[in-house]
């Protein structure tokens, strides 16, 4: 059933748009959790005919780390710093959505040009992963709160993971798991850093960190 892969891809694309258009940080974290779970399922859907141990292992690892551990860590930071929403990003939410749409079209174009040795059924995962990478970069550059930037980084990472899931059979399992662990450590450190920034300056507005320069 190709419909199921289509459905997953559509939901993943929509979750990126939710990340772009939502101002509430709690909504963003929940969306990220859903995205992580969907990404965990994605490789299992692609390789359903010849389900190998290696794919299953990486998928379950991704599902646990991206779908449960990251959101849990982010919610912990969110509770500690006590802010609810991103206020006044550099680009507003409706323009962000339009830019996201432009990014989607660009990634579809690049995806169609890219001559990539992938099976026919997963050809759509490549535009999806390019779009996730673009959306993650956009979130990283236009949001002001440190926590939103961490989430932008995670969307970017999810894009790279989706790209990897197409070629999962060819990448050694140790590399995949290593990347997942790297991301985990990164989120852990960023969470602690965000907490300390907040405790030191009473806000996590990255823009104002510029003032510290002597």
């Amino acid at each position: 059933m190709n419909n199921w892969i289509d459905l997953l891809i559509i939901l993943l694309i929509l979750s990126n748009f939710v990340m772009l258009g939502s101002s509430r940080l709690a909504v963003c974290i929940r969306t990220l959790a859903i995205q992580g779970i969907l990404l965990g399922i994605l490789p299992l859907m692609i390789d359903r005919q010849d389900l190998v141990l290696h794919t299953t292992l990486v998928s379950i690892g991704a599902l646990i780390i991206k779908g449960i551990v990251f959101p849990w860590l982010l919610f912990k930071v969110l509770r500690r710093i006590g802010i609810r929403r991103e206020i006044e990003p550099f680009v507003g939410y409706v323009p962000s959505l339009f830019i996201g749409l432009a990014g989607l079209i660009v990634s579809l174009y690049i995806g169609s040009k890219l001559d990539f040795p992938a099976p026919e059924s997963v050809a759509d995962v490549i535009p999806l992963s390019l779009f996730s990478i673009l959306a993650g970069l956009f979130l990283l550059t236009t949001r002001k709160k440190a926590l939103s930037m961490v989430m932008g980084y995670l969307v970017l990472e999810n894009g790279i993971y989706a790209f990897g899931s197409v070629v999962l059979n060819k990448v050694p399992v140790i590399v995949e798991l290593g990347v997942l662990l790297d991301a985990l450590v990164a989120v852990f450190i960023m969470g602690i850093a965000t907490y300390h920034i907040n405790r030191e300056f009473d806000h996590i507005d990255v823009n104002r960190l510029d003032n510290l320069k002597g």
Partner: protein
Amino acid sequence: MMTYWSHQSISPVISAIFLAPLLFGVINWIKAFLSGRRGAPWLQPYFDLWKLMRKSAVYSRTTTWIFRAGPLVGLGAILTAAMIMPMGNIPALVSFPGDFVLFAYLLALGRFFTIIAALDTGSSFQGMGASREAYFSALSEPALLLALTAVARRTGSNSLSGMYEVLSSGSWALVSPAMVLVFIAIFIVFLTENARIPVDDPTTHLELTMIHEVMVLDHGGPDLAFINYGAALKMWILGQLLIGIVNPVHTGIMWLNQTISIVVSLSGPAIAVGLIEFSMARLRLKRVPQLLVAAGIFSVLALIMELR
């Protein structure tokens, strides 16, 4: 230009013309029922229209012919749109390739005349309502057109009658993630075009928060009756647009088909709108564009999925 005609094609138009106001009656009854009140009789919209038709219109001295033309053009545009709107697999009175574009722009024509009639009164409230209506419809129009393009691509037909004939072939074999997206997009457009709750509140009493209601404040008598009747017709035909996607009636017996279609097109949109208006408040005005852009994104995604 291909035009085809069949004797049963008269039924979508006839039922739209006579049953559309009943839709409002059913919605109001459902809302009253859900909140534990008894509610007005189902035929109340007809009584209201009859009352308005017997009154005479009052025109302000600052208005010109544009103000008087507004309700007429609005109703005319909607009636024309009703001619090309099929009812499930019953073809419309008139159909030709590309009529879905005409459909979208007939709605736009009616809206345009409502807007300039509102501006013609010179009232600042009406100007405000007109500006909001123009802004929101600029966002909802691409969503509608792209969604219909995706349906056209899916069904391989570019007239509304052809599209819905394929869609209501008696099974949900054509259902795909893309069609679900199309349905959501058209549903948001349906709520926007009919000025229903997440976008606009039809029962609000404060001019500052109104969108559609504030634009027709100066109309009275038969003009208001035309506007209200046009609104009912618009809701009926946009409801057909939605129901045609999800209701694959195909019994083989024509009169049974028609009865089921009529019952579903009366109850479906009425229950959906009634439940939404009962359970949620309208969105803040700043959030409405986000909802409409989301509808646009759904349509674009559906089109992309169909174009592959």
